[in-house]
């Protein structure tokens, strides 16, 4: 009975029209699936080949194994290169975040002579091709008779990380409601307390984001590092040099691990942020 009514009330739509209507309704979803597939196939490939029982060269699938994950330092030099990258990344992040945050406050909050010039200059390292920046830094170090190595690399990384920190933190400062600091001052907090209790906690997510950005920029930098690190091997340098004779599967393990670590940090940040919003 009900079936009959259904047939009677819904007019027949030709199949072609129905398909085009379905596409119309789901176009954005289809597009999203295509875009994410495009973005994540390389990541999935890297992850999959971290389980390859590869031996020396990790180009062809030879069989599944956990060995690479059980022994990530198995390939020669891979872990010392990783340790160097982490050390350089940590120091570059620390210095560039501190300096960049201070610059962001100066430019974002105060008016002084040369403010707009500084604002422009801070973008220059971002706009300069890395190959030029790397080469000129090397010649600068050599002029001052500083041999390429660990510290020159850290200094070089701070140079290009600062720009990104300033831009990120400045955006956060710009979105800060000035009335919040006025309210703190109104409620008996002097300049120092206002900064510590209100300004800094509110800008902190921006600073944390800037630090993560700086670390990931430093961690995977190859061009500038290649000029300034001398004989020191960082993780990107290791991957590059071993490409000639076959990249070990351990590189895929470390790459995948970094990816999941970054993912975990982002998800944790989201959850914490959402919880705060709910409790506020």
């Amino acid at each position: 009975m009900s079936h009959k009514i259904k047939d009677a009330t819904i007019p027949h739509i030709p199949t072609g029209a129905r398909i085009s209507r379905w596409i119309g309704r789901n176009l954005i979803r289809i597009y999203a699936v295509v875009a994410f597939t495009y973005l994540f196939i390389p990541v999935a490939y890297t992850f999959a080949f971290s389980f390859n029982d590869s031996g020396k060269s990790n180009l062809i699938w030879k069989g599944f194994t956990f060995d690479n994950w059980k022994n990530p330092c198995g390939a020669p030099e891979v872990c010392s290169a990783l340790a160097n990258s982490i050390k350089i990344g940590f120091l570059a992040t620390l210095f560039s975040t501190i300096l960049g945050t201070m610059i962001a406050f100066a430019i974002g909050r105060y008016s002084f002579k040369g403010r707009s010039t500084s604002n422009l200059m801070i973008f220059l390292p971002m706009a300069t091709p890395e190959i030029v920046l790397g080469a000129s830094l090397l010649s600068l170090f050599l002029v001052f008779k500083i041999n390429p190595g660990f510290w020159p690399t850290v200094i070089a990384h701070v140079v290009f990380c600062i720009s990104f920190v300033v831009v990120t933190v400045k955006a956060r400062i710009a979105s800060l409601d000035p009335r919040l600091e006025q309210a703190a001052m109104d409620l008996y907090a002097n300049e120092r307390e206002t900064f510590r209790r209100v300004t800094l906690p509110l800008v902190a997510p921006g600073i944390a984001g800037a630090a993560l950005l700086a670390f990931s920029l430093s961690f995977d930098d190859f061009i500038i590092t290649n000029f300034n690190s001398g004989t020191l091997t960082t993780f990107p340098k290791f991957v590059y040099t071993s490409a000639a004779r076959g990249i070990p599967a351990q590189a895929n393990v470390i790459g995948s691990a970094m990816f999941f670590l970054a993912l975990a940090i982002v998800i944790t940040g989201q959850i914490v942020g959402r919880k705060r919003k709910v409790s506020a």
């Binding site: 006025q182 703190a184 008996y188 506020a280």
Partner: protein, 365 residues
Amino acid sequence: MTKESISAKGDLRLTRLSKSYGDFTAVDDLSLVIPEGSFFALLGPSGCGKTTTLRMIAGLEEPTVGSIHLGTTDITTTKPYQRPINTVFQNYALFPHLTIFENIAFGLRRRGIKDVDAAVSKVLDLVELPHLAARAIVNRPALLLLDEPLGALDLKLRRQMQIELKWIQKEVGLTFVHVTHDQEEAMTMADTIAVMNEGQIEQMGSPADLYDNPKTAFVANFLGQSNLIKGTISGNDGDSHIVDLFGQKISLQKNRSHANDQFIYAGIRPEKFRISRLGTPTSGNILTGGHIEDVSYIGVSTQYQVEMPWGQELMVFEQNDDGVAPFSKGEEVNISWEPIFTFGLRGDEDATAGSEVNPEELDEE
């Protein structure tokens, strides 16, 4: 960095206060005394300097010229955190990274007060909507500043909060200075209102004073609505002037006239008018020859537009309480009112001052 806060109390005195931003003068030579314990309102349209005045009292702006005294202490150049003054900000400016409790406790903790828990729970008992004013009131300041805190609320809640705030002010006995562009809000809450326009005080007084006897066209139009009729003083009768309005004579008490020569605007509030049909006995001031141009029935009253022989439309609000059949459009009528309700304004004023609706303020409503 000096941190000791001033423990001054007493009347707030603003003396010849000015604040300029480049060529623009936001506050212009303003002098004012706000008595201790009063509920004081600074009322005016946006851009009149009321918020700048408030921010100078709070210490968030430094005056270009002039001084601010709290009791006998000069606080003109002291930092905001040194003043025993707290502000309820527009949209409250709550610290988003702190809980409601920590927001309220913020001022107490900065001053190193021991029993924070007790003070916070006490103020929460007092204040119904905690985020509204608790963070400021908990500090028991000598002066509480309110920067249009009710602007974002809907009408019903706003009325409720007005009564609440008024009650709190009586309860805690603090001096409240309230900035608003909403004349009804100012009249509901404040003991004294200063009407501000272009950086200066137009008139100051109790809500009833300002409404019944405005001194300028701006006050007459900004506080409620007024009918302003151009005329000349043609004679005297004891304590009253005889005023000629387009050939018809009415009387105006001399002490309610703020004109400085014979050219005058006679002002009458719309609800003071009575409309009568031709031939009905009337007393007091009478204007004849009107006819009803428009009728709007709005429940508590009926609003009429009455066109007079000289072309001006007068606004009349009639209570719907006397059983008289409402007048209909086109009817010939006379208008009358008690002479004591007439007020006189200078004849060289702009009769529309203060009556234009600022589109920005409509958005805020």
